[in-house]
């Protein structure tokens, strides 16, 4: 399978491990990725003018004839929303007058969906089944909203993936609740409260790890976890993994390939336990 790969802006900074692990896992599964040429920012959640946001998305989509895959739920949601907007002929015409390469339709896929599709049940490439590991499936907002292919409030694809890795999914009440990320800079307090609610629920549920599909969710739950612990006076200490990191661990890929050293809350203890458990069972 050959796909155009749209890594998004965070792949160069706060989401480096997302980018690394996506590339590593796709290589291991035989999914060929071609970098989307000269891609631009999708506007994230900060371009309020929808025409401009759709325009930025359309420029990306016009760079390739291949289906486009992204590991970032924000990019994914924006590109899919733009496709809907671009169904209006008048707007499409207006936009194409501005674009160098004309937009004529696109297929957008999330890395989660592509990976799940290429992993068979009892796939022999899963060399480290994550047995007895409790993984909280945290979707956040934009994988499933507004125009996703999953239920916008009660999706199950992450649980399906977690089971396929032989881990145990922990369903949070907050699994499709917002992480607060989009407003964390100017509205710190509101964002903190929202993110902490997710973390404390995962803690209460006894999760060994939380899995995310969005770099902003990851930032809020992982990079900010220590600060939130201090502010709220509750130790959380739960590693937060990108879905591609979790799959990569089960495929036996190394910490460097998956950028596991880049996570704020180290997942290494959890990985070691998984290897120990496997050794016991041999």
């Amino acid at each position: 399978m050959k796909l155009a790969y749209y890594p998004g802006c965070v792949s160069q900074s706060t989401g480096k491990e997302m980018d690394l692990s996506t590339r590593a896992v796709c290589a291991a599964l035989g999914i060929e990725l071609v970098d989307l040429p000269d891609w631009n920012c999708c506007g994230a959640t900060h371009v309020s003018n929808e025409m401009v946001a759709a325009g930025l998305a359309a420029r990306n989509m016009a760079q390739t004839d291949l289906p486009i895959m992204t590991p970032c739920s924000i990019c994914y949601s924006n590109l899919r929303s733009a496709i809907l907007r671009l169904e209006e002929p008048e707007f499409r015409e207006k936009l194409n007058a501005v674009l160098d390469r004309k937009y004529s339709g696109a297929v957008i896929r999330h890395a989660l969906d592509v990976i799940l599709e290429s992993l068979a049940k009892k796939d022999e490439r899963i060399v480290l089944p994550l047995r007895e590991m409790k993984v909280a499936s945290y979707y956040g907002c934009l994988l499933t909203r507004p125009a996703g292919q999953y239920s916008p409030q009660f999706p199950t694809i992450l649980e399906e993936l977690i089971r396929r890795l032989e881990a145990e999914p922990v369903e949070l009440r907050h699994k499709t609740a917002c992480c607060g990320g989009p407003i964390f800079m100017p509205q710190e307090k509101a964002a903190d409260d929202i993110a902490f609610a997710i973390l404390s629920e995962a803690k209460e549920a006894g999760a060994d790890a939380i899995v995310t599909v969005c770099p902003l969710c990851h930032l809020m739950l992982d990079a900010k976890q220590k600060t939130l612990e201090q502010k709220k006076g509750l130790k959380i200490g739960i590693p937060v993994l990108y879905v591609t990191q979790l799959v990569g661990i089960a495929l036996g890929l190394g910490p460097e390939e998956l950028g596991l050293m880049m996570n704020s809350v180290s997942p290494m203890g959890m990985v070691e336990r998984a290897y120990e458990r496997m050794a016991e069972q041999v």
Binding site: N40, C41, S48, N49, L56, L99, C178, M185
Partner: protein
């Protein structure tokens, strides 16, 4: 309301409908949007009231409030609205109008700096974005330092500024479509 204000108020309503969709007119004020909102408890006016203000032409009140900037773009209101309205799109429309009319509070400034990054580089570079934001909102310095201390040692802060080849095209997209 003076007769002279009417046209401006009506123009405002039309602009919201153009940006957010004519279905906003079908709002039944049920409040599902407010009930779904993760930051509703901090909002005044509520998102439901905001839609009402737009339809009644309450421009000043609709544009100048904290509610707009508490929206996290989670879209729960949008997938739940029984009338198929996109309340988040109403918020976005109001933010866009406020920004074009010169609103420069900290939140609007953040969006302007974000868009400036896109216009100048085609991509977001978090370091200059944060630096620029701190000039208008120094209160975010502590949080930014904490983030920096987390990200920098892990190599997760880009130092080099990326600039794409199609930067002129991107600038054109912003200029031509943002009206």
């Amino acid at each position: 309301m003076k007769a002279g204000d009417m046209t401006e108020e009506q123009h405002f309503k039309q602009e919201v409908l153009r940006l957010a969709g004519p279905e906003v007119l079908t709002c039944i004020q049920c409040g599902t949007c407010s009930a779904s909102c993760p930051t509703a408890h901090l909002m005044n006016p509520s998102i439901r009231k905001l839609v009402k203000l737009c339809l009644e032409g309450g421009k000043e009140e609709a544009l100048h409030n904290e509610t707009l900037w508490l929206c996290t773009s989670c879209l729960l209101c949008t997938v739940r609205c029984p009338r198929g309205i996109r309340p988040k799109a109403v918020v976005s429309a109001l933010k866009d109008i406020a920004e074009r009319e010169g609103e420069r509070g900290k939140d609007a400034s953040y969006e302007e700096f974000f868009l400036k990054q896109i216009k100048d580089y085609g991509r977001i570079n978090e370091l200059p974005l944060t630096a620029e934001f701190l000039l208008v909102y120094p209160e975010a310095a502590v949080q930014s330092m904490q983030m920096g201390l987390e990200l920098l040692p892990r190599g997760k802060m880009a130092i080099n500024v990326d600039r794409i080849k199609g930067q002129d095209e991107v600038r054109r997209i912003v200029q031509e479509l943002r009206r």
